[in-house]
């Protein structure tokens, strides 16, 4: 009888602790979502420093799982230069680059593919005609229990008025 009681106690204890762990993980997910809010401002940095480029309000961060694919659509305006970069927490990327592809939202033409550009982490361009761009981002995949992790990814967009060259 005492052995049965002990067995029941151990099984029940394990069950209760697993509920607690799940609840805490749920709370952590909510905290992480809030934590991700400014992630792109704190963590994403463009490799070149240029004071003329300013933060663009279409930047954002969000919570993701490994291997997740997501799309961002933003507007680039004629007469502006843009820089964009992705960054992610190590728990998601494990040091691997975040792949991204830029397409014309209307024509679907691929304008840039980081996979075809030595896994570039960032991209800079001048816009000569306003348009909506779609950026498809793919996070490195994970295996086993790592599939259940999650972390922040930031999309930092900076912009400046294009420099005018030549005599007018």
């Amino acid at each position: 009888m005492s052995r049965i009681l002990m067995l029941i106690t151990i099984i029940f204890a394990g069950y209760i602790f697993s509920i607690q762990a799940k609840a805490q993980k749920g709370s952590t997910a909510i905290e992480k979502t809030v934590y991700c809010t400014d992630y792109h401002k704190k963590a994403c940095k463009f490799s070149k420093k240029d004071l003329e480029f300013k933060y663009n309000s279409q930047s954002r961060s969000a919570l993701f799982r490994p291997g997740q694919v997501s799309e961002f659509s933003f507007t680039s305006f004629k007469g502006y230069d843009y820089r964009l970069t992705f960054c992610g927490e190590d728990v998601l990327t494990k040091g691997a680059p975040i792949a991204f592809k830029i397409t014309d939202a209307k024509t679907k033409a691929v304008l840039f593919d980081s996979n075809a550009s030595d896994n570039a982490k960032e991209f800079e361009f001048s816009c000569d005609n306003s348009l909506n761009l779609r950026v498809e981002m793919t996070l490195p995949a994970a295996e086993g229990s790592e599939k259940n992790t999650y972390g922040c990814v930031g999309f930092l967009l900076q912009s400046r008025k294009s420099l005018q060259t030549g005599f007018k």
Partner: protein, 299 residues
Amino acid sequence: MNLILKRVFPVFIVIAFHAVVLTSCGGNKSEEGKNSDTSVVNDTNISPEAFFQVPLPGDLFLQLKEYGVKAKSNLLNPVENINKYTDQKTKAINFGAYSSDLFYCSTFDQKADVLKYFDNMKKLADELGISSVINDETLKRIEKNLSNKDSLNKITNEVFFDASANLESNGQGATLALVVAGGLSESIYLSIQSVGAFKANDKSIQYIADQKYPLENLFQYLEKNAADERVAQTKNTIKPLKEAFDSIKEDASERQVIEGKNVIGGSTKLSITEEDYNKISAIALSVRNELTLNNSTSK
């Protein structure tokens, strides 16, 4: 040993019961009426497949100011109208509209109105459950920086950004869609009224035509949240404005070639006529009046 187990086991059961009950009482932060997902689990916090970004109103007004556009009086949504906003839909839309008015004030140095609009935004933020985005500290910063338009713009940016992040992380994507809709509609209306009559080959007119693109993204965002009845209604209200922008003729355009630079741009350029502009102006006014429950007339 048997005695220990007989005494410990019942106590353990009581403790375990309380642990389960307290764990269940996590509550949820999503309060979007009938269409809200009330489960608070990992997956609802994980990001969706598509994001549609819309520039802040301040970006639009700043550009127009650089083109030489000046502010005009009596354009803003009257602060007294806040008393008309009695349901969550009009509160959310006009939180966005008032934020656009605030950006207008700070961009064009209309200091006298800044505090009134911040006050209205605070009241609406409280009623939308995001009171933390405008607290006493924020109001003190605003009062301290009334003469500094760059700082005011920065504070307004932060408030809008925090409000968006708050609504998103609380599972209130539909409410956020309404806020953005109110903000962009008010911005387009204010821009057109400030620019005034059509002028051919004018950069500010062309920039207004280019607002077709953020409007497209807004529409996609509303579409994504259209399961919410309030969003579906708002989408229908804004639809004529989108259709008016869509009817602007697009001319083929050649890509510029700049050595050493990546050049990206649309394969077509928007060619806005006076007729297009006047039509968009009239519809922007009508949409804005419907969303803000106003009776203003064009100038």
